[in-house]
Amino acid sequence: MPILIGKETHAIVQGITGSQGAYHTQQMLQEGTKIVAGVTPGRGGASVQGVPVFDTVEEAKRRFEVDASIIFVPAPFAKDAALEAIASDLNPVVIITEGIPVKDEIQLMEIARRKNTTVIGPNTPGIITPAECKLGIMPGHIFKPGRIGLISRSGTLTYEIAASLTNAGLGQTTCLGIGGDPVVGLTFVDVLEMFRKDPQTSAIAMIGEIGGNAEEKAAEYIIDTKYPKPIAAYIAGRGAPPGKKMGHAGAIVMGKTGTAETKIDALQAAGVKIAFKPSEIAGHLKLQ
């Protein structure tokens, strides 16, 4: 059993009539995902790639069996769209949109938390359980079914590493991007916990980057739970310029975390194998 989405997942696309929404609906359908309906307010009655479009999520849900949603709605309206999905008990809710204001993200995540909804993103390539279901924008052909769970904060770097795993004969249970924004719905810890419980996943590839302390928190969790499955990690940003600093408050709230070194040290201390090149991840996991 993969995590979060699989063969049985029925999904809607919010923002289906936009160019990104329409293009990726076509891609997801082609790869076998069960997209049963689309939602664009004001465009009810239309059809995209043979998928019926409704004005509201509630209406789509009344007409079809729907579990999950993927959102391509522009940033100013994305919070509203996500709240609409959450209100209709869709789960998970995948938000592809970039550029959502942080205030909207904070409010959205708090409401999702209270309703026990899993939000993937925002600003994520999405999630894929190869050969079963894709709620995302990643090129499906680079993924193959298998036993590696992949978690990432990045987009194209995820494709890079997924492709190298696939080329090395290492297929994947589920691959997901938690999203590149400061406030996102899932942490590395949340996803590591899901992979821990998933009997089909036997090892994990983790792709982190500088900024925030999600990787350091993951290292603490790996130690605390004596994590039972091997993990290999790549952390991008050893040679990157220092990012936007939020003055004193940024430094205080983060403490001594956030650099590539602090993340690599913490993960190494937790027994995670560090790849210094993206291509090394496959080697680390193959030796297991």
Binding site: P125, P139, G237, K277
Partner: protein
Amino acid sequence: MKLFEYEAKEIARRYGVPIPSGIVVSSPEEARAAFEKLNQPSMIKAQVLVAGRGKAGGIKPASNSGEAFEISGSILSTIIKGEKVTKVLVEQRVASKHERYVSIVVDRSSRAYTILCSTEGGVDIEQVADQSPEKIVRYKVDQLVNLQDYEGRIIAKHLGCSGKQINELARIIGKLFQILLDYDAELVESNPLIETESGDFVAADLRILLDDNSLFRHPEFLARMKNFEPDMTPLEIKAREKNLSYVELDGDVGIIGNGAGLVMATLDMILDYKGKAANFCDVGGGADEERTAAALEIVLANPKVKVLLINIMGGITKCDDVARAILDIQKRMEISKPMVIRLVGTNEEEGHKILTAANIPSLNSMEEAAAKAVEIASKVK
């Protein structure tokens, strides 16, 4: 986007947060007039967005209008950490009995606004946080309930207030939080928040950082952001106009890639092969021909660049589009600098074919491409 101190204080004044009286000016004559109007010992403060202006000589006291004229003249002619000073704030000097620190910031790990405060405010606050973290009080705000008065009072007690001060400080913190929400700020910070001899509070310095993603809700700032960003290079400004993520660095290997993570990984690899990147340039996950061409133009406009490394992992971006963009710009500009191109993913074979036909070598491996770029850079004089 950072606001200037005088802009932040103008907002604070409208919300009823106590601030020192002050007048912002852009010439020594205006500074003299401002001093005469305030008619009391003042500080002349450079209005810049870079941090650490005090230690760089950007804040000086003036005791009479002649000094105000002279000091503002000298500050207005300086450049602080690369930023030209075009305005100074002439501001009433407030005697302080005690300096506190108050800020509201986004805490990623708890996905919430968090109030940070300390009884030990002032320039060394980061040191306090580092060496005695127990002196920093953290308070997570429930985002659906909003900040309540009683919460402000709890914080005021932690900041050592008593009597009437408790309600007053709670009121100020409430106003700062309201500013954060109304302006979609990522940070509102007062350091120091001064307690005067008479026990009143004054926000002697105030920083507001707006969330760039929210500027569509604040068109007055959106317009300014387009026109003005003192800590960016001309190429960085040009890149932003084209919606490209571009940061200039000190090295000589020009870099273009799609996706921030992939570009970061490329910079890491350049470092591992003992090279130095000239820039970070992310054309984005869905880069098309036009964006790639714009990126090429900007990266090559940096005279330090000796070699250009293009790293594309095709997903939404199609490799043949990238290849055509490279040929197109080669026709338009006379590119004399060597290029190393790495293309994989969607339509990679067609991409390689287009480049090979035009005599431009293209590789499949990121490692080989990075190594080759560094090698070429070391040979070019």
